[in-house]
Amino acid sequence: MIIYVEKGIKNHHRTKKLLSRFSDARVVSIQKYTEVFNRKDQNFRLQKQKPALILAEKKGVFVHKTPDLYSIGRKNNFYFSHILNCPFDCDYCFLQGMYRSAFYVLFVNYEDFAEEVLKIPCEKNTMSVFTGYDGDSLALNAWTHFWDFLYPLAEKTPSIEYELRTKSVAIRSFLHQRPLENMIIAYSLNPEIITKKIEKKTPPLSSRLRAIQELQRKGFSIGLRFDPIIDCQEFSRIYEQFFTQVFETIDCAKVHSVTLGPFRVPKSMQKNLEKLRPLDPLLASNQSSESLDFCEKILYNHFPKDRIFLCYEPSCSQGPLPVLDLP
């Protein structure tokens, strides 16, 4: 493995800990992570073959407002990214359209993120902070120990809600801890057949459901993220079976929040994605709004309205993806 390390943080305690874990890694010293990450001469798909790790210091803006409709019930929604990219390889991931690099960037100065979060002027119990926007919150937790950082922060600031969005089932390291109501572990879920085909390198649905069961049993707050829903042939049958499997396994009454969203790619990234994945059936397929209506109805049968959050405008939910504009 290759680990690029910014000169300025070579003595940071997290850098040292990580490098000691990978004693046989090739360590390359860099001035700034942007020397290696996201240069225009790179190819995301090629780098995904064997991503390197970049250890860096985050500077500038630490915390961002989330896009509209990115909410789980509170008025003020923010996100920060201690890590960019993730080890999973989902065909729909917008990061491959956003970055040219698939290398993982870990910003080791977690405390600076916390400091900025605490500076945000918000009334009590109105703020949610999302941590899995530019990468899976927990997938690389064994390296990053992000949980160990976030847990005391969440404990100290009970009026702020923190979401860890993940597909990872590596939960053993924190299962013994006292659950915090304001620390939500949000699982992205899709039917097994879709997971296998489109969410490459991710744990199977059955493993994710087992992890959720285990976490619920211990009392952790769980979020369910049906986002993105993937429209496909035999959609109704596949998703009906899927929702039955999910609701038979987990305790719906104890679910903190449920979100539903379509497969969507910002226009600016669509071209990049098509270039990177010219033969991708998902990008070529028609994703219709009826699929979302179908899921919406099922969810409203299982959860109260105030726990369901739609990541799209219900009135003008997503139409078919543009395939061709005729001259």
């Binding site: 290696v36 001469d41 090629l46 042939q233 959609f235 010219p278 059936p281 070529a284 005729l326 001259p327």
Partner: protein
């Protein structure tokens, strides 16, 4: 040329005429003898440039204390204040080092870098055609503080490269194992029969790829470019993902 001899023999390359530089080729492997110097190396790569070509630069270099005959692969290259980081996406058979390209032979080995005279030129020129991940720079140590490079030692260069052929070959194989990223489609079935503007050709290619991705036939009986594109618009606009 000393560096090239063992590679020409190893890969069974034959001289190709028509170039002002020495170029050798067999099947998908082409070797160009760049000559000495960053700018010479850059122009030689430009001569052969093709979109998404895989580039492996093989040459000798000096280092203050690395053993003569040891091979390294560059993880960072430098030329004056310019710096670049070739990406290494496959298992390597040797150590990696910083490589500094210089204009004149170095004898004082100021830093821990490996000193050569071509790497940066090769890299920068190849970047005009390829991604950083498709370029590797292999350097075999020919001189160090104890064993400086002299004219008399030129003959040794072939031997140094020859001893590292298996390692060089692993790097070449590693490059070749990278997935193909450029998918070209043959639209001549349509373009031979009717006229498409350049824009329409690009749209047709996109449709072809989409049809291929979705496993549907890209052929229709349309009689004009407009008709064909309209066919695709209807066909693809409704296709659901098949699992």
């Amino acid at each position: 040329m000393q560096e090239a001899k063992p590679l020409i023999a190893h890969y069974g390359l034959k001289k190709v005429s028509g170039y002002h530089l020495n170029v050798f080729r067999k099947d998908e492997i082409t070797l160009v003898v760049t000559g000495m110097g960053v700018f010479e190396a850059a122009s030689a790569i430009g001569l052969l440039g093709q979109k998404n070509m895989l580039v492996c630069n093989v040459g000798v270099a000096g280092h203050r204390n690395l053993r003569v005959g040891e091979m390294i692969v560059a993880h960072k290259i430098q030329f004056h204040k310019l710096v670049a980081f070739p990406k290494l996406l496959f298992d390597l058979p040797c150590e990696t080092k910083d490589v500094e390209s210089v204009l004149w032979p170095q004898t004082n080995y100021e830093t821990d870098s490996v000193y050569d005279m071509e790497a940066f030129g090769v890299y920068r020129s190849a970047m005009g055609f390829s991604f950083s991940e498709q370029i590797s720079l292999c350097k075999v140590i020919s001189d160090n503080a104890e064993t400086p490079f002299t004219k008399d030692r030129r003959k040794e260069v072939s031997g140094l490269i020859e001893k590292n052929l298996s390692k060089i070959d692993l790097v070449v194989q590693g490059l070749m194992s990278l997935p193909q990223i450029d998918v070209d489609v043959d639209i001549s079935w349509y373009t031979n029969k009717m006229h498409f503007t350049e824009t329409q050709k690009e749209m047709l290619k996109k449709c072809f790829r989409q049809a291929q991705a979705l496993g549907v036939s890209p052929y229709c009986s349309g009689k004009s470019a407009k008709e064909v594109l309209a066919f695709f618009s209807n066909l693809l606009g409704e296709q659901k993902l098949c699992l």
